[in-house]
């Protein structure tokens, strides 16, 4: 039991921190996932700078532009990116789990084709998993891929495809054996978004931002090299990559929550009501204290996963616990922020009256996406209960 980081890890923390301060857009508003057009451009420019440092994908092998960083070093990286709200939303999916899926299951050719452009900050990937009729019950997806000579021909609809309109490539789950049990007839494809037959149609989210899309595949013909892993192995690959998604995202999110709290405490110190600081208000103190505690608890849930990875212990429910707890904690934090700001809490960042750059207004909306995406809270609880605790299926 030792909570101390090594000197090397601390030195890297300082280095990352200084880099972010130097390279971040000066007026960076910094809310999770830079999805609006201007923010997106700034984010891509930042990723390019990360790439020059070789810092896009800490966990990856060096031959593909990674750092081969230890789990603890990756944690340090994610903590600093999160705390400083670094604009890395455009690479989270590619670095966090799409690349790792290709690393684990790809051929030499697939790795060489797809991984270096990600670490070079050149290529954006999106994820074609969910369908209109296949959300939490993802394995019931209907999108079909049919073999035709050496090619595959894909037909179907995907939904909630974040950044599809900005992506060069897409990972796609499609049914390749309709006769097999639903989990066993799915394959995993790597699809060039320029392929004829793909149509991208925007879905505007409740923050009034175009991030999501519906993506239609109509007789989309892809070569045999588009198949990742074995035919009908897709569910297995997806389940593994989703576990990656959970743990890689959460470390940054907890640190971002801590930053939100630190800012809120500063705001309360400076804000006077009836001549007294907001921090003198017992109800405010209670709320801030509660959030500080909840964030701290979430942090060690992340550290536990990292410790397990470092010890090479097999994980079971720890990543699900981490995702479930911390995304729900973020919902509470956003609400606390808005409540403390009172009427001002509802203002959009563009208002001249806005306080704290409207961060809590925005995170109050986006926090809702986090308890649904990547496996909803209810699905996480099912996974914990059935896969982890061995409770019988209903």
């Amino acid at each position: 039991m030792d909570f101390r980081f090594t000197a090397e890890e601390e030195a890297f923390r300082q280095e990352v921190r200084e880099f972010i301060r130097r390279e971040m857009p000066p007026d960076w508003e910094g809310v999770f996932l830079e999805e609006e057009e201007e923010d997106w451009k700034q984010g891509r420019a930042f990723v390019k700078k990360l790439s020059q440092k070789g810092w896009v994908a800490p966990a990856w092998p060096k031959e593909y532009g990674g750092m081969e960083a230890s789990p603890a070093l990756q944690l340090v990286y994610n903590e600093e990116m999160g705390y400083h709200r670094a604009p890395i939303g455009s690479i989270i999916q590619a670095v966090g789990y799409i690349g790792p899926a290709i690393l684990f299951f790809g051929t030499e050719e697939q790795k060489n084709q797809h991984l270096p452009p990600i670490t070079a900050g050149e290529i954006v990937w999106c994820q074609g998993f969910s369908e209109p009729e296949a959300g939490s019950d993802l394995a019931s997806l209907k999108c079909r891929a049919v073999k035709d000579g050496d090619d595959w021909v894909i037909n179907g609809d995907k939904i909630w495809t974040s950044n599809a309109h900005r992506s060069e490539w897409c990972i796609l789950l499609a049914r390749t054996d309709p006769a097999a049990p639903k989990h066993k007839g799915i394959s995993f494809f790597l699809v060039d978004m320029q392929t004829p037959g793909i149509t991208v149609q925007p879905t505007i989210n409740m923050a009034n931002v175009h991030s999501f899309n519906q993506v239609f595949f109509e007789d989309v013909r892809v070569p045999s090299s588009a198949l990742l892993g074995q035919e009908n192995q897709g569910w297995y690959i997806a389940a593994m990559t989703l576990d990656y998604e959970r743990s890689s995202l959460v470390a940054a999110a907890v640190s971002m929550a801590k930053r939100g709290l630190d800012d809120l405490v500063e705001y309360c110190k400076e804000t006077k009501v009836n001549g007294r600081s907001l921090l003198d208000n017992p109800l405010v103190r209670h709320k801030l204290s509660e959030m500080a505690i909840e964030i701290e608890v979430g942090k060690y849930m992340v550290y536990r996963v990292v410790s397990q990875q470092a010890r090479k212990e097999p994980g079971s429910i720890e990543a699900a616990v981490c995702k479930l707890y911390n995304t729900e904690m973020d919902v509470r934090l956003a609400n606390t922020g808005i409540q403390i700001l009172g009427l001002y809490g509802q203002l959009h960042k563009d208002s001249k009256w806005v306080r704290m750059m409207g961060r809590f207004q925005k995170s109050y909306l986006y926090a809702i996406a986090m308890v649904i995406g990547g496996g909803s809270s209810e699905i996480q609880r099912n996974i914990i209960a059935m896969r982890g605790l061995g409770l019988p299926r209903g």
Binding site: F3, L288, I293, V297, Y303, R311, R393
Partner: protein, 378 residues
Amino acid sequence: MDLGLSEEQGLLKNAARDFLEKECPEAFVREMEEDERGYSPEFWQMMAAQGWQGIVIPEQYGGTGMTFTDLIVLLEEFGRALVPGPFISTVVLGAMPILEAGTEEQKQQFLPKIATGDLIVTLALTEPSAKWDADGVAMPAKANGDSFVLNGTKLFVPDAHVTDYMLVAARTKESASPEDGITLFLVDSKSKGIEFTVLKTIAEDKQCEVAFNEVRVPKANVLGEVDKGWPIIQGVKSKAAVAACAYLVGLSQMDFDTSLDYAKERIQFGRPIGSFQAIQHKFADMIIDVDGSRFITYKAAWALQENEPDAEMLVSMAKAWCNEATRRVVAHGQQIHGGIGFTKDYKIELYFRRQKWMELMWGDADYHRELVAAKLEA
């Protein structure tokens, strides 16, 4: 950074679990609830033979010289087995402050005997005002010749009636700051003028009212310096709060494990109740609360051990969190067990009652949240 147990800690944990499953079964826990002393000298000696009372006492004083986080690993197992008796009192409230603030003579006098299981000690801090802060210490101790004379009442004193010695916090000086003017005394529990009354509590543990009537304590029995006892007490309070957290972690883990077994076996509507999503999701929430409690407790313990600058804030975070999280766990445990859980025929109620005891000891959640808020402000 590694949150796992060291090899030594793993061995300690396994040895403790094996020993306690054998020597501290449910029947023994219930027997000690009824027992006037609340512990058995035989069991106490068996624990001493394991080296547990001396776990944090250096080898030169007859202990095994392990660390505070090692003790925390052990106490987690104590919570799991609901170990009754004056262990936390003797080791955390007694041995640790003597080790930190005692003179060489005092250490020689007390620590070896504690390690061998021949001395039981506690701390008499709280009074009828039931406050954990320095202004809760109002009982006067007046200098008289080569002694101090104590008059007043201490309340909620753990295990006092079976102790050989008590560390007693008393006021030796009135001062603008309540933290100034408190002195800690090592008081022989058999001194003339001391009267013990065991309180009936929700956990049937043995907390006492201790009445002091003209109790004379030699000046040589002051621990630390006269009027400057509060910093020592603060150190004890922090360690005791983390010890309580560890006990709660083990307790809630066992409540969880027991409830999980029950949900897999209990059949209603023709299927195990654990197959119902309403029950399954309770378990997911419970394991989050148990694990969340465990790792913030480890962090707080480690920070105290390493004298980290934010140690006190982490202690308060841990205690505030564990208090409420473990209460949620044992409440779910009761709900999952249904009617049988409300009876003395089944062990789950033991966890429910003891959770509330440890929740209240060394500061409830509101108390510690306020301490956290004060640190955020700083």
